[in-house]
Amino acid sequence: MSGDAQARTAAGERGERLAALLARIALSDQRAFADLYRLASPHLYAVAIRIVRDGALAEEMLQEAFVSVWHHAGTYDAAKSQPITWLTSIVRNRCLDWLRRREIDTDPLPTNDDGAPAWEPPSDGPSPVDLLIAAADAQALRGCVDLLESGPRQAIALAFFQGLSHRELASHLREPLGTVKSWIRRGLATLRRCLDAAGSAQ
């Protein structure tokens, strides 16, 4: 069995396990909830930290997400999405809602004296673009990310992994808002075609 196939099987087993746990959580099974937390929280916490860029805040987002999972596990539909996708969306949406609430009517990202962005992606881990490429490797989707030009690729990676909005992307990449918006639009359309084609080929 190839490495990719092995990884897919492992992911499939994990998915089945998580789906079974969600079904039990919908029946208020506390042990299943604790198991789900042990299995999924390291991934979800990492997702939250990258987006909100603050450990304490990421903890809060994770807490809220799991409280929501406890109450809404019954709405998970295994026919529609993988459990980890469902869980990741809950965490991402919590984080993004928080970021966007903060962003309303506030200044753009802080900058240093020289006009460079005052924050940088975490230096102790892979950059957003590295992660995008790694994700493509993991899914045997190298071609999809390669199809993206460097502008759209960077914009999508920053938006996805660090939760930057259109406005923040424009300021961070020092490009006009319109350019960034069209990069995102084109990049997403490209990814969609490629991801859907790869999904149906499997």
């Binding site: 506390q30 604790a34 937390y37 929280s41 390291p42 991934h43 916490y45 990492a46 997702v47 930290i49 990258r50 987006i51 990421a58 903890e59 994770l62 807490q63 799991f66 409280v67 406890w70 529609k80 999405s81 993988q82 980890i84 996708t85 990741t88 969306s89 991402r92 949406n93 993004l96 809602d97 966007r100 609430r101 962003e103 881990g125 892979p126 992660l131 995008l132 790694a134 994700a135 490797d137 993991a138 899914q139 989707l141 999508i156 938006a159 996805f160 992994f161 939760g163 930057l164 909005s165 259109h166 992307l169 995102i184 639009r185 997403l188 359309a189 990814l191 969609r192 991801l195 859907d196």
Partner: protein, 238 residues
């Protein structure tokens, strides 16, 4: 605008993609989330894109969250703690459950309070509030105090009563260690429980108060002897 109409599918698809990626402006984000709750076509478009986008998150290196995150989740949901010392398990479990319930009740009280405050021009807030509720989530008593005072004021809500030839006794539950008796609650709808020291000193390390049912003079042993009927988190507004 009806995004479900076939001629608007392309626009819906683009909005859903930007929602899933997270770049939508706040107003668009809120509106899409609201519409998705009642419109299955919109909800479907969002979850399609969330599925596509989520594969990108697969290779983020996992990071184990600190243990307090799980403890807080358990507390907020009133779940039974995974591991508690056997001797205290029953007591702590009940408290964790009730603590979560009383936080929920407190939020209700605060919301009601805000509604009330809008009507009434002047309100003197009590800096320290404990909403004591029972296993059925019903509020039994509300304790309030002002910093520096040497008493707690207790108001009975509804028909909470200790029963004939019984008394309520108030306890402070520290983070660790046995409950500390604060005193017997006198009969009456609004009463005071006197304290030896100022309330902020007495309760400085106390996250929770509880009420048990005891003989008229209070617990003969210095520990709760009857059932713990109400408990609540100490909420400080300072």
């Amino acid at each position: 605008m009806n995004l479900s109409r076939p001629d608007r599918r392309e626009r819906l698809d683009r909005l859903a993609a930007e929602f899933a990626l997270g770049t939508s402006p706040p107003r668009v984000r809120r509106r899409l989330a609201t519409v998705a709750r009642r419109d299955r076509v919109v909800a479907g478009a969002l979850s399609e894109w969330e599925r596509r986008i989520a594969v990108l998150a697969d290779r983020i290196p996992a990071t184990t969250p600190p243990p307090r995150v799980w403890r807080n989740i358990e507390m907020r949901l009133g779940l039974e703690p995974d591991r508690v010392p056997a001797r205290e398990a029953g007591w702590l479990r009940r408290i964790a459950f009730w603590r979560a319930l009383s936080i929920a009740s407190l939020i209700g009280v605060v919301v009601l309070g805000v509604a009330e405050w809008r009507r009434a021009p002047v309100v003197v807030p009590a800096p320290l509030v404990v909403v004591l509720s029972g296993a059925d989530a019903k509020v039994g008593l509300i304790a309030t105090a002002t910093r520096g005072e040497r008493y707690l004021t207790l108001k009975t809500v509804g028909n909470a009563a200790p029963g004939q030839d019984k008394a309520f006794e108030l306890w402070a539950l520290p983070q660790a260690g046995p409950p500390q008796p604060l005193g017997v609650v006198p009969q009456g709808s609004v009463v005071r429980v006197p304290l030896k020291n100022p309330v902020d000193e007495t309760l400085s390390n106390i996250p929770t108060l509880a009420i048990s049912v005891e003989p008229p003079g209070g617990s003969p042993t210095g520990k709760p002897t009857g059932p713990v009927v109400y408990s609540g988190a100490v909420e400080r507004m300072y």
